[in-house]
Symmetry: C2
Subunit: 414 residues, 2 copies
């Protein structure tokens, strides 16, 4: 596609995006670029994510659409974390064959038809937790329903196997209803089995529930949950990073799971066999440093074996009722979305509230200007090296501290 | 009792003890003293334990029988850990009213009649793990059956509630039979419910099983388990620190639990409600640093709520089958007592067994010779900095790693 084609496409997208974004006029070009990028790349493409972090979405989309070589970007991408020339060339080979302006226009028309809205980083309804995904964060989110539901707080992801037993469904109903009673929003994947039962119980209890899909939000998947997903969108939200028209694939299911784990304050696996996809969501939650719970079941039931594995090998906390699940997000203040400025101040605030006394002492001993070594921290805090290292690890995971050349610094609230 | 009374008593005890001890001639006076002390003190009496640690059993028994005042011992008890004059006076007030030489003689006669043997510290059949109880270690052990069964290794305590469900009994049968298949001896408390089921399944599988009682071994308790305890004694052992004739009391049940936890290589709670006495055994195991496992069950079953509490609050490892239970004592070399000196090699081994997968990966990436930096560990393990630091903190706390000039090293086992 040549420059003229790109400009015409952008003009049309700009018009269409005005229809699908609430108050979108602010930054149409970024929005257009993110829509284009979302159409050509698979979810979680880290090379694209690092390019966007370095160049911005608009310049990244422009380069992809232009057909120019990687060498033209080398000067612009001098940061250590930026993709290499080789990565860009390989990326272009993935992305450029997918440029299809007719399909993109159809996707946007379809989004407008089903009333899907585009939510972008920096919007009040953009989950601050996505920032923890780094270069694997989504570029944009398509949402049907109430987009503020996506940032309802506190929230807990309730996930589990499609092949649920009566026991698992009982656990899911009790968990979702009990959490709704405690003001917690329920995030899940809209699938058969545990996911669907958790969504249904949340709706029945009058709560907010959010389903993340692995394909476009124009076509609800699975088909048997069309009515359920419609009810979820009626009071909560159905969301996806995939553009309308995109079909779910195995890869997209796995990547969808990272959005469930990153947007929720904690993840609880209610019932899962050892091969359940919900263990992938649990893995994302653990990697992101989110609290992870697992509900035990009879050791005679293979349907609970995945939960037991999480308890044994992944340090999941054993949770047996909604009160214990709610404790996983204790300290996360409920409140209307947008009350606090979104972004890292919000998440830093949350992180600060959840600090242990060890973490607080180590944080207080750090400066934003001068780095301190572990030895200096041991002397300054009067703590042993083990607790100091443990606290640094936790603070690092919440983004409150950063490693410097010869030690550690406190990160400035951004 | 005066000195003359004591001497006559000792003479008679000496004769009787020859009948009840295998090769007892070695140290009759110490044996006599321990029998006397066991008859006047309750199990786990720490003041008596510290007196015996300081003065020896013979002098301690002599002082109690003599009726002398605490001031006469003050010079002899100069060690910091020895009981104070006030503690001795209070102790004497507990112990001396119980001196009853006729009852003691009857107890020994009864022991001889039922074929009970006296096992003392230092005997090959004395569990080395009792040393971890410090001043609360038992003074002596009365054993019916094969006293070497008491030190069978590896061994695991399988305990649980009297009020067992069909699920719990199923778990107990599978656990005991599977552990016996793996050469593990089964230790328990001989009670109704989980304990009895575990003993029975161990016997049925042809394994070694040991029951610790809360009263004298002359009268099997509970009465309904007389036949079962007889079968246990026929191939394994029934043991108690209480003299023959002593009735079980609530205190003695709780103290009995410490012997189960201390003699076994690990403790597993198979099914227990929140008030089950087996949680007391689990508490002893945790205090002693023994591996502790708990079998989960349905969260809808109050009979499993104690197990879930152990998983949530006491860092018990989730174990779902005999293979996982056997892993709790992996590395504990079977062998007669005294083969290993207890101490740091033993405890490093234990620490190794308790590692998380993160800790294991970090430990494997470290060398005893060359130090590696945190950055190198991040690269070597493929883990993020937070988990690497967390694992280093935990490994540092257990003494498995040490900080070096420019990084970390694995510590040599001592």
């Amino acid at each position: 596609m040549n420059r003229g084609g790109l400009e015409r496409l952008v003009d049309r997208l700009r018009e269409d995006l005005i229809a699908v974004r609430p108050g979108a006029a602010g930054a149409p070009h970024d929005a257009v670029a993110r829509v284009v990028l979302g159409a050509v790349a698979e979810p979680g493409d880290g090379v694209l994510g690092r390019m966007v972090e370095s160049l911005g979405a608009a310049e990244s989309a422009g380069w992809i659409l232009s057909g120019r070589g990687a060498t033209e970007l080398v000067d612009a991408l001098r940061q250590e974390s930026a993709p290499s020339s080789r990565e860009l060339t390989a990326g272009a080979a993935r992305w450029r064959p997918r440029i299809d302006d007719a399909a993109l226009a159809r996707s946007l028309a379809q989004a407008a038809r089903v009333g899907a809205r585009l939510v972008l980083p920096g919007d009040p309804d953009w989950p601050v937790g996505f920032a923890d995904l780094g270069p694997h964060a989504p570029l944009a989110l398509w949402v049907r329903g109430r987009s503020s539901a996506v940032v309802a707080s506190p929230s807990i992801a309730l996930v589990g196997a499609r092949a649920a037993t009566g026991y698992g469904e009982h656990v899911a109903v009790e968990a979702a209803a009990g959490l709704v009673d405690r003001g917690v929003a329920i995030v899940s994947g809209g699938a058969y089995g545990i996911d669907g039962t958790a969504h249904r119980a949340a709706l029945a209890a009058g709560g907010t529930t959010v389903a993340f899909l692995a394909g476009g939000v124009d076509r609800f998947y699975p088909a048997g949950h069309e009515a359920l997903l419609g009810r979820i969108a009626a009071t909560g939200a159905v969301a996806s990073e995939l553009p309308c028209g995109a079909a779910p694939t195995r890869w997209r299911f796995l990547q969808r799971n990272r959005l469930i784990a990153a947007s929720a304050g904690a993840t609880v696996v209610l019932e899962a066999g050892v091969r359940s996809g919900s263990l992938n969501t649990a893995g994302h939650a653990a990697t992101l440093g989110r609290p992870l719970g697992a509900v035990p079941g009879p050791v005679t039931s293979p349907a609970s074996a995945g939960c037991h594995r999480l308890l044994r090998e992944f340090d999941a906390l054993c949770v047996t009722d909604a009160a214990q699940m709610a404790e996983l997000v204790r300290g996360h203040r409920p409140g209307p979305a947008g009350d606090d400025a979104p972004g890292s101040t919000h998440s830093s605030q949350r992180a600060l509230e959840a600090l242990t006394s060890h973490e607080r002492r180590v944080l207080d001993a750090l400066s934003v200007r001068r780095s301190r070594s572990v030895d200096e921290l041991i002397r300054a805090t009067g703590m042993a090296s083990g607790p100091v290292l443990g606290a640094l690890g936790a603070l690092d995971a919440t983004g409150l501290v950063a490693r410097a050349a010869d030690g550690w610094v406190r990160r400035r609230p951004e």
